[in-house]
Amino acid sequence: MLAILFIIWEAISKSGLFPTIMWPPLLFSSHGEATVLGTLFQGIADGRILEATGRTLSRLALGFVIAITVGLTLGYLIARFKWVDDTLGFLVTALQSVPSIVWLPLAIVWFGLGETAILFIVTIGATWTMTVSASTGFKNVPGLFLRVAKTMGSSGFHLLRTVILPASVPHLISGLRVAWAFAWRALMAGELVGASGGLGHLLEMGRALQSMDLVLSVMIIIGVIGTIIDNQVFMRMERSVMKKWGISAQL
């Protein structure tokens, strides 16, 4: 499949239908112009792409961790107290439907165009969806598990740690997965508009330099990272939980 795409792309590039500046070749350079894979490997070799990837991922990690912590806390409060659900619960659902990049103008005014503004966008992108899945997960903990644990004498934080959290793990994992996807998109948008360093910034630089080979190689990196994290981290977590719990993946 990839090979077919590769051939089509290369053929269009060679056909001269578009100038190579718009449609750069992937691998085979005919007049000495830059190729996508060439730029990609060179970027990796001289550390430019790697460094940008590193900055992007560390921003992502920080924003994600904050979002998860806040999301779990708010989710617990919503599930635990009816009045929080009635007030905050509704607000969160409303906020969840606002794309996080919409917050950027506000973030720039609040924090200035820099690291903090980007972090804010990432965090806000992931927090609400995490809050919603956490509260759903906590609310759906079977009452039977709670009764069992309570008759054994569990309560308070022990009950949360040993029963409520593990019992809602299936919901939490899908929450993490969606939250991650939101954070990743928000981060790219944020970096594209205003950040120093990072993959989004590299994309913007590629546009400014009219170098689509750089843009495309960064896009490839972004796609690869996304796939790896989704497949290797979240799918694995999901599968191992399903196996342990004996939930079958098929319908």
Partner: protein
């Protein structure tokens, strides 16, 4: 350990503000080491009584005394075995059984040994590393019983523990429960809607009436343990209880289906002499 329910009333608030009386004037004393069954039509409040003893629910009026002391809330001296095992799917069998022990701050090694002992008592020593979804319904219930026994409670509260099992498994578990009860001498409060089950297992059976839930009649089961299901004492008693229960059932069905309903008298009670050749 003696359990005493004194003039317990229980009201539930309905959505429309009205209250529904579930239990009315329940007076019940359960002696140390006794095996008592509560039996009655569904919705008669038998589970509510159990939950009150467990401390998961509270009487609206009246009180629950354990050894003369008023009780507030659940405690490790009263452990419940529920109809569905309620095993935690994220823990294996051994961890499930150890849960309560570790909660009591017991050392891990000691807890593991105790849990293994309890699992052997229900004949599941080989499955300690299995996860709940790998077990059959009967095995899950056995683990749930082991999880309760390992806490060494004074009272074992069983809320229709075998209702979801098939007949053969239930029979095996009846024998095992009798064996465990004789070995450990725990007080057992057993909820069921199955008369045969109550007759097979208990020393005393309390029949409940419904709407509101009252204690209607008491039966003593005077037969030796281990019980033999074909014991004529048991068969006879089963029939007597069924006759009393039918009156209650009729009341329930009438309320649900209107006045045109009439339960056919004795339609599902077979002639006890049938298998003795009465139709030759």
């Amino acid at each position: 350990m003696q359990v005493e329910l004194q003039q317990v009333n229980k009201l539930f608030q309905k959505e429309n503000g009205q209250s529904l009386q579930v239990l009315e004037n329940i007076n019940l004393t359960i002696q140390q080491g006794e095996f008592l069954s509560l039996i009655g039509p569904s919705g008669c409040g038998k589970s509510t009584i159990l939950h009150i003893i467990a401390g998961l629910e509270f009487p609206s009026e009246g009180q629950l005394l354990i050894n003369g002391q008023q009780v507030k809330g659940p405690g490790p001296d009263r452990i419940v075995v529920f109809q569905e095992s309620g095993l935690f799917p994220w823990m294996n069998v051994l961890e499930n059984v150890m849960y309560g022990l570790l909660l009591k701050k017991m050392k891990r090694k000691e807890a593991e040994e105790k849990a293994m002992d309890a699992l052997r008592m229900v004949h599941l020593g080989r499955f300690s590393k299995a996860f709940p979804h790998e077990l059959s319904g009967g095995m899950k219930q056995r683990v749930a019983i082991a999880r309760a026994l390992v806490m060494d409670p004074d009272i074992l509260l069983m809320d229709e523990p075998f209702a979801a099992l098939d007949e053969q498994t239930r029979m095996v578990l009846h024998y095992e429960l009798q064996e465990i009860w004789q070995k450990t001498k725990k007080t057992v409060v057993f909820i069921t809607h199955n008369i045969r089950e109550a007759v097979m297992l208990s020393q005393r059976i309390v029949l409940m009436g419904t709407r509101p839930g009252i204690l209607k009649k008491e039966f003593l089961v005077e037969a030796a343990f281990p019980r033999d299901p074909s014991d004529s004492v048991l068969v006879h008693l089963e029939k007597r209880i069924l006759a009393s229960l039918e009156q209650e059932m009729e009341k329930v069905l009438k309320e649900e289906m209107g006045d045109d309903y009439r339960l056919q008298k004795d339609a599902h009670v077979s002639d006890p002499l049938y298998h003795l050749g009465s139709d030759i």
